[in-house]
């Protein structure tokens, strides 16, 4: 029992060490890749609060990521120190998420999903049309961090991994807390949850804000990291789809699932980029199809025992089948 419970923590720690070691063993390509993986892990872990624990299919990830990117970029260009700009972005995004959540979380199921994706478009249009502040469709530049590409690469990698550890710790807390228990009840039967004394609206809004806050931070860090953002790139619909798929691939509502899913998906994508550039977009489609048909509850919740037996069974039967 005890051993089963600690496995996720051990795996996660090893994974963190691996990501942190990359700058010492390999080129800037790997540092970039590791930073990206940590970035997506944070987004997937964030989504897990609302989509996994609470069971509300949110597609707002890109909205909060994009908003965070712009909030960070604008305040940084106005002279705010980089770290403060990140914090400002986090606070702003959290506040707006509370407002959106207050309105949106009255909806359930498909209606909530559609409402949550609409926020991405609304914010993209708002940012794109606030030309004075954001440069509109031309995008905007953010001051690069001084100190040479290698040093800068490491700064962003460690920042991103540090945040990933923080969100993981938060996930562990939610998983064990009264709050997380309440979210699971809401996921299973919202009316019954309310009837046992859970303030379901408040819980859902908290979960939604939690799922937004760190998307905002990550967006702001991303803006400082790449040095250039534009509305299309920041409020990308593909991102808003990819992140839930990652979390579900690993196992939504679990502690380690989003970490596993984000890593697996990113690596898969990387392999496709390297080898079949033109099919890269297809990978999301393929993963979605696999998820729906073979892994409805993610890699973590797969019944490995049955799978193993079935495979052995098939392997044992094949030789006896008549060969053509």
């Amino acid at each position: 029992m005890m051993r089963r419970l600690t496995v996720p923590y051990v795996l996660f720690s090893i994974w963190v060490v691996v990501l942190c070691m990359l700058p010492f063993v390999e080129s800037s390509y790997f540092v970039h890749l590791a930073t990206n993986i940590a970035l997506f892990t944070i987004l997937a872990q964030s989504w897990n609060f609302i989509g996994g624990f609470s069971g509300y299919p949110s597609f707002s990830t890109a909205a909060f990521f994009g908003l965070g990117a712009y909030a960070g970029a604008i305040t940084q260009n106005m002279g705010l120190p980089m770290e403060l700009a990140w914090i400002f972005a986090t606070v702003l995004v959290s506040a707006l998420a509370a407002l959106f959540g207050f309105i949106l979380l009255r909806l359930r199921g498909h209606y909530f999903a559609i409402g949550s994706i609409a926020i991405v478009e609304v914010l993209r249009l708002a940012i794109a049309s606030a030309t004075d502040l954001t440069g509109g469709g031309n995008g905007m530049n953010v001051r690069f961090l001084p100190g040479g590409p290698e040093y800068v690469g490491m700064v962003f990698l460690y920042t991103m991994v540090g945040l990933m550890v923080l969100v993981f710790a938060l996930t562990v807390w939610v998983d064990k807390s009264r709050f997380g228990f309440g979210l699971r009840c809401i996921r299973q039967n919202e009316d019954a949850a309310n009837m046992v004394g859970i303030n379901t609206n408040l819980y859902k809004i908290f979960a939604y804000v939690l799922s937004a806050s760190f998307c905002g931070t990550v967006g702001a860090i991303y803006a400082s990291w790449t040095g250039y953002i534009d509305p299309t790139d920041s409020f990308e619909i593909l991102l808003t789809l990819k992140v839930p798929v990652m979390a579900m691939l690993g196992g939504a509502g679990t502690v380690i699932g989003p970490v596993l899913g984000a890593a697996a998906f990113s690596l898969l994508e990387e392999i496709f980029w390297a080898n079949f550039l033109e099919y890269n977009r297809a990978i999301l489609g393929v993963v979605i199809v696999i998820l729906i048909f073979f892994l409805p509850r993610g890699l973590l919740n797969l019944d490995y025992h049955t799978l193993h037996r079935r495979l052995r069974h098939n392997a044992g039967r094949n030789p006896r089948e008549p060969s053509e």
């Binding site: 064990k176 009264r178 228990f181 309440g182 699971r184 009840c185 299973q188 039967n189 009316d191 019954a192 949850a193 309310n194 009837m195 046992v196 004394g197 859970i198 303030n199 379901t200």
Partner: protein, 254 residues
């Protein structure tokens, strides 16, 4: 102080579109009573419970629980104040274990307390309703009688002062029903006020101290079981006016 009713419902009404589900209903519950709420299908019994627990707001009227005006409260507030209910159509958290289901009741109906304490306490409630052996089973895989027991354990775990039972015996066989009745009597002995909605007349009349009769959303009768059983309006509501007329003429002739 002891004479203050635990629940006082005054002229509550609720309609759904054109349908008046509950119309100008008023009654009081004394602490510790078992009150049977009866009435034909569609009479508004479940709706009345939904109004008391805040599932729907009442269109008019007021509800006072333990001296505090609770009109317009939300279900989670009702739960925290000490009103628990079972659902006519059972509402478990399907993928959670039986124990976790009960723990949810123990944990959230109070504002504080640790999960570990709630789990320990929940085991007691499971033992009480006879589900201790199934504690680790997912709620979804329970049989109907056991789901009803789970509903009961979950609402008991909320440590209610008022318990509203919406057809907890429906779908149970006679042996199971007599077991359930013993449970309800035990619960009442703890001092919990109970409202029981029940279609089986024998059951309600034997169990209740007092009966309330709803018909077309209106409270048409109320009183001691043997009085209500003789009330013409009740006989009419249940068996139709023709039958009631025949009863009347028979008793007049006889």
């Amino acid at each position: 102080m002891t004479n203050q009713p635990i629940l006082k419902v005054t002229s509550v009404a609720r309609n759904f579109g054109g349908i008046v589900a509950v119309r100008d209903v008023s009654f009081e519950l004394a602490a510790g009573e078992i009150v049977g709420l009866i009435g034909p299908n569609g009479a508004g019994k479940t709706t009345l419970i939904n109004l008391i627990t805040g599932v729907y707001p009442a269109n008019s009227g007021s509800i006072v629980f333990d001296g505090a005006d609770v009109t317009g409260q939300k279900p989670f507030q009702a739960a925290r104040r000490g009103i628990a209910r079972t659902f006519q159509i059972v509402q478990p958290f399907p993928e959670m274990t039986v124990l976790q289901n009960v723990t949810a009741g123990a944990l959230f109906a109070r504002q504080s307390g640790s999960i570990t304490d709630a789990v320990e306490e929940s085991r007691e409630h499971l033992k009480f309703v006879g589900l201790a052996d199934l504690a680790e089973t997912p709620a979804a895989s329970l049989t109907l009688p056991n789901r009803k027991r789970l509903e009961l354990a979950k609402s008991l775990a909320m440590r209610p002062r008022l318990l509203l039972l919406d057809e907890v015996n429906a779908g149970l066989n006679p042996t199971e029903i007599s077991g359930a009745l013993d449970l309800i009597r035990d619960i009442s002995a703890r001092g919990i006020t109970i409202v029981i909605i029940e279609h089986l007349m024998k059951v309600v009349f034997s169990l209740s101290h007092r009966i309330l009769v709803l018909h077309h959303g209106e409270l048409i009768s109320g009183g001691l079981p043997n009085e209500v059983a003789k009330d013409e309006r009740v006989v009419e509501a249940y068996l139709g006016s023709k039958f009631a007329e025949r009863q009347r003429s028979l008793s007049n002739n006889g």
